[in-house]
């Protein structure tokens, strides 16, 4: 069974040189989509979309646990209450990951949840408060 997840990897700076990611792709046949990466005060963060078979996914996550990388699943992150969205587009300006785009034809603002890194900025910044965290 193929699954799709979005995860945050938290790791210490020393691990940053390890070919963590290559290994996930090569040895566990996982398809990765990098959404965001940063390194601050010796702590690295990487937000990745992952696609693969559920077996490979579990093995890959097992590997990350073994090498001391903390994994946070944010797949069920943020959703939009479409009824309350006015389509203004203010979110295009404040979303750090470019998850909102303008559909030039309809002038509507599209929420591309696959690009969302669940930072939560939009939850308080959306003018009509239509962005929510899933629990």
């Amino acid at each position: 069974m193929s699954i799709e997840r979005k995860i945050i990897l938290h790791f210490s700076a020393e691990k940053a040189d390890k070919p963590l990611v290559n290994k996930l792709i090569r040895d566990y046949n996982l398809e990765l989509n990098f959404l965001h990466a940063s390194m601050e005060n010796g702590v690295g963060t990487m937000v990745v979309g992952v696609v693969g078979s559920s077996e490979d996914y579990d093995k890959g996550m097992g590997y990350l646990a073994k090498v001391g990388v903390a994994v946070e699943d944010i797949s069920r992150g943020i959703y939009r209450n479409e009824d309350r969205c006015t389509g203004c587009g203010a979110c295009i300006g404040f979303c750090p990951s470019g998850a909102f785009t303008l559909d030039k034809q309809t002038a509507n603002t599209v929420f591309n949840s696959n690009r969302c890194i669940s930072c939560g900025v939009c939850v308080k910044a959306c003018l009509s408060r239509c962005m929510h965290r899933k629990f």
């Binding site: 389509g87 203004c88 404040f94 002038a107 308080k124 003018l127």
Partner: protein, 404 residues
């Protein structure tokens, strides 16, 4: 003049009026020419939807037994402070009003989850609202306290009453400083990292009638999903703002004061709005029909985003300190493209007003004119015009010591 409003209304009643939105009229005129189009087309509809802070509502609740006088006491609706400075059971609520215990910006930026704009939205959508009033009691109005649920369907009157809406053009906001700022123009990131604007551009009512030739006092309009009227020029109405050759102001200019029966409105077009670090407001939908009386009036409705310029203003310093400095001018075509070029630097843009909903409003107004549920009105008086000397100015601050 090729037609009168009375003639257009006669056509509307027969279901024969030709109505187009301010977007549709542009290609149509290019194809058929100015002269023919001015003859065939009767009405052009405009629309705008965005946060409009000087919006409010007044309501009359009806008297409970025994009677109460809100006036001079205090009153809250869903915890939000309303204004009790009138007669017995009249009250007013403004879009920016907050609950007394809202932390506001004590921890900056404040959330402003719920305020007057949200109360108005909830009221319109038919939800019960909790009213709490404390009064001082008189011989004729003995009651000192009232706690009750109210609902729009039971109120004697509920009237939207907005004294500055429909701004004719507006600033584009940026932030030159080194820190993110939270403004009524949204979140502005440091070092000019983004630019926010707020206008329906070429669909915007007053940009399609820049000299207020057909839009005036008494004009019937689409307001919040129902029908309303223009009661006067809005506060800070400034017809003397600089204009380009086609009459389009290059900065904020005309404004409208509007009113209408809340009972006929829809919450889709009156949306309670929270602006982080700034406060609450109400996003209001307004649509205004422009009767095509002659070629000149038609010509004005052909304005396009590329012809409308807005000033780029720094909201970290120049706006709050009122320096009057403009960093540059950009067109709405640029703003809508997703980025502007400010002195050689590309800045991504975002809107606080919704173009999709402005289009929906212009469309809806077109349909209601076509099916004769909306007819046009003659204005009773024009708005103050360019050249009339009517203008807007700052406050000349006189210290209290002088008078006391």
């Amino acid at each position: 003049m090729c037609k009168t409003i009375a003639e257009i209304n006669a056509k509307i009643k027969e279901g024969k009026a030709v109505v187009m939105t301010a977007e549709e009229i542009i290609p149509y005129t290019k194809e058929h020419g100015l002269k023919n189009t001015a003859k065939t087309v009767d009405v052009v509809t405009t629309g705008t939807f965005g946060p409009m802070c000087s919006s409010g509502a007044y309501i009359n609740t009806g008297q409970p037994k025994p009677k109460i006088k809100f006036g001079g006491g205090t009153i809250t609706l869903n915890g939000v402070q309303a204004y009790a400075g009138f007669a017995a059971v009249d009250l007013m609520i403004g879009a920016g009003a907050l609950p007394l215990d809202d932390p506001r910006n004590r921890r900056h930026p404040g959330d402003f989850d719920y305020g007057g704009g949200h109360v108005i939205e909830d009221l319109v959508s038919g939800k019960d609202i909790a009213l709490v009033s404390h009064a001082y009691g008189t011989d004729c109005y003995p009651r000192k306290e009232l706690q009750a649920l109210i609902n729009i369907k039971d109120l004697n009157q509920a009237v939207l009453c907005n004294f500055r809406n429909g701004y004719q053009n507006y600033n584009v906001a940026v932030n030159k400083s080194g820190e993110t700022i939270y403004t009524y123009m949204g979140i502005l990131k440091a070092y000019l990292a983004n630019a926010n604007y707020c206008s329906a551009g070429a669909l915007s009512p007053l940009l399609n009638d820049p000299y207020y030739k057909t839009i005036g006092i008494g004009t019937r309009i689409f307001l919040g999903g129902g029908q309303g009227y223009i009661v006067s020029a809005g506060t800070q109405h400034n017809p003397e703002a600089p204009r380009t050759e086609n009459g389009v102001p290059t900065s904020g200019a005309g404004t409208l004061a509007v009113t209408g029966d809340l009972k006929n409105m829809k919450s889709r077009y009156l949306v309670g709005t929270s602006i982080i670090g700034y406060g609450t407001t109400l996003s209001v939908g307004i649509g205004i029909p422009i009767p095509i009386l002659d070629e000149e009036i038609l010509q004005y409705t052909l304005v396009e985003d590329k012809d409308i310029y807005a000033p780029v203003i720094d909201y970290s310093e120049d706006y709050p300190l009122n320096t009057g400095k403009v960093l540059g001018n950009v067109s709405y075509a640029d703003l809508r493209s997703g980025k502007i070029n400010l002195n050689g630097r590309f800045i991504p843009t975002a809107a606080l007003s919704s173009l999709s909903r402005a289009r929906e409003i212009a469309d809806e107004l077109r349909r209601s004119i076509q099916n004769a549920s909306f007819t046009l009105t003659e204005m009773l008086e024009p708005l103050p015009q360019a050249g009339s000397g009517y203008s807007v100015h700052g406050l000349k601050e006189r210290p209290l010591e002088e008078d006391f």
